[in-house]
Subunit: 317 residues, 2 copies
């Protein structure tokens, strides 16, 4: 299982490479929600999301002679850019397997970090098989998006920073898809502030982690219909679930309208840009505020990678 | 003339009240522009713009028995909200004279800070006369937006923070309309880092400060047609101009397209929201990059008060 020492080691690797992102506060928000809210602004992280932490740590842990062969990852989202940038910073090649109908801006951004992008047809081809074949041919390592200890340890450095920067918290809410971020942040928080209750945050339409926690075993669902594209995973990872099952107090959900309301609040009052999944934890706090009355609550603002056309369409709908 | 000691006194008043805003940096931007850019994020200031500094200082300087009678200001923009919030924080009343066709969101925001809003018809009525009559009737003080030493000293605290936080600067670029912000920041910067060249930043269509500096006297222009609504002043203030004439090295301009490009860069890469005038200084750096090659340049990101409808329309045009 993931251990706190792994997260401390990851933090040492990330020092001076990842941004130590700020904690944002808002008097207006605290009045609205009747609690003290501490928002960890991972939208200001390198490449725009927390995923950089896990991606970088995963490339950094490799032995130099293995790393020299390059790395492979499959992702249509932030993990792709995270691994691409991490490889570039280590001076090694990255091959990213992306669906051919991914937004051109994401494909361009991934190429912008120096990666080779291999496109596949998501309706007829299996990205895991393609990635495994490339890894085998090149003799290089495949970096999975969440079910992987170095990724979980890297994401956990975000929780470590929160736990160090905000004393006497009552609760921590972390958005979750595959569970890498939630499990990493939970282990870090429990190590430094053991009495803090840790919660996951999911889109209502894709509440598989909530179901899994309630059932005590991993529940798989169909690809959920939600604007939260970073959380359309069908099942939580095995390694993250071990942590979540033992240490997470609950998983909160928010529907897409609540997510948009949180994105709007961030735009209008905080003057920051959040992608839908990046606003999910804040949205669940909006929806479940009565549960946190008078508490000191940290939430992750996990990413800000969204283009202006989609952003406008969502906020004006 | 404005003196550095006035700015230090204002900073002491603002301590713990105004936000000490962060300096943002971007590796991508530095590569694009071939210089080191330090961006002072005043869009994160209270009420969303640097104007809070001057508004608060102007209310704070008043003798308690004068202040108790309340304050008056006229503005269609950020100065209105700044004075309203400053009065609210001092527990006194504020009357803000605003044009009846001002955006409803701005009128609501000003009322939201507890102010009485008096509407006037901008085509048939004189807002200065209305404001003076209200001040006279109530026996209270009118707080002008820029041509006023306590406002200039308050705005200068932003320059003080930049000068303290970023060593060995070569240049500082501050957006300017009436000149309060530019003059205050210039006095602070020259006191702490005398060799730094200070520049104003104006929309190209409203380059009256550039003209005034070139002519050595204040030049008045028609209301300029620009998206930079915070900089549609027709002439720089007399007190700010004394400082600008003696200490400012030049005034740079950017057209509306360059301002939109800077807003877009801020959205896509910095994940922050800037209003057009808030992006003007960065836009001038985009346009005049060759002048700053290999230099250490600070720019103000002066405000982020813009609604999503207008923001979308500007960035999608």
């Amino acid at each position: 299982m993931l251990e706190f020492a792994d997260i401390e080691t990851a933090a040492a690797r990330l020092k001076g490479v990842a941004h130590y992102t700020p904690i944002l506060t808002s008097t207006t928000l605290d009045k609205m929600l009747d609690c003290s809210v501490y928002m960890k602004a991972e939208n200001f992280q390198r490449m725009g999301a927390f995923k950089f932490r896990g991606g970088f740590n995963s490339v950094a842990v490799l032995a130099p002679e293995i790393r020299a062969k390059g790395v492979v990852a499959f992702s249509s989202g932030n993990h792709a850019q995270a691994v691409a940038l991490a490889a570039q910073l280590h001076g090694v090649s990255a091959t990213i397997v992306m669906p051919s109908d991914a937004p051109p801006t994401k494909i361009e951004a991934t190429r912008g970090y120096g990666a080779d992008v291999v496109l596949y047809d998501r309706y007829t081809e299996d990205r895991a098989a393609i990635s495994a074949r490339i890894a085998s041919e090149k003799g290089c390592v495949l970096i999975p998006p969440f079910d992987y200890l170095p990724v979980m340890a890297g994401q956990g450095t975000c929780g470590l920073e929160i736990a160090r920067d905000v004393a006497n918290l009552d609760a921590l809410i972390v958005c979750t898809g595959g569970g890498g971020f939630l499990s990493g942040c939970t282990i870090a928080m429990k190590a430094l502030q053991p009495r803090v209750k840790c919660f996951g945050a999911e889109p209502e339409a894709g509440n598989d982690v909530a179901q899994s926690l309630a059932r005590g075993e991993i529940v798989s669902i169909d690809v959920p219909k939600t604007i939260c594209d970073g959380q359309q995973t069908q099942a939580v990872g095995k390694l993250p679930f071990e942590v979540i099952r033992d240490h997470v107090s609950g998983v909160l959900t928010a529907d897409d309208d609540a997510v948009i309301a949180a994105m709007r609040f961030a735009f209008e009052r905080l003057k920051i840009v959040l992608e839908p999944s990046g606003a999910c934890a804040l949205a669940t706090l909006f929806e479940h505020r009565s549960q946190f009355k008078n508490q000191r609550v940290a939430v992750t603002l996990s990413g800000g990678n969204i283009d202006i056309v989609r952003f406008s369409a969502l906020l004006n709908r």
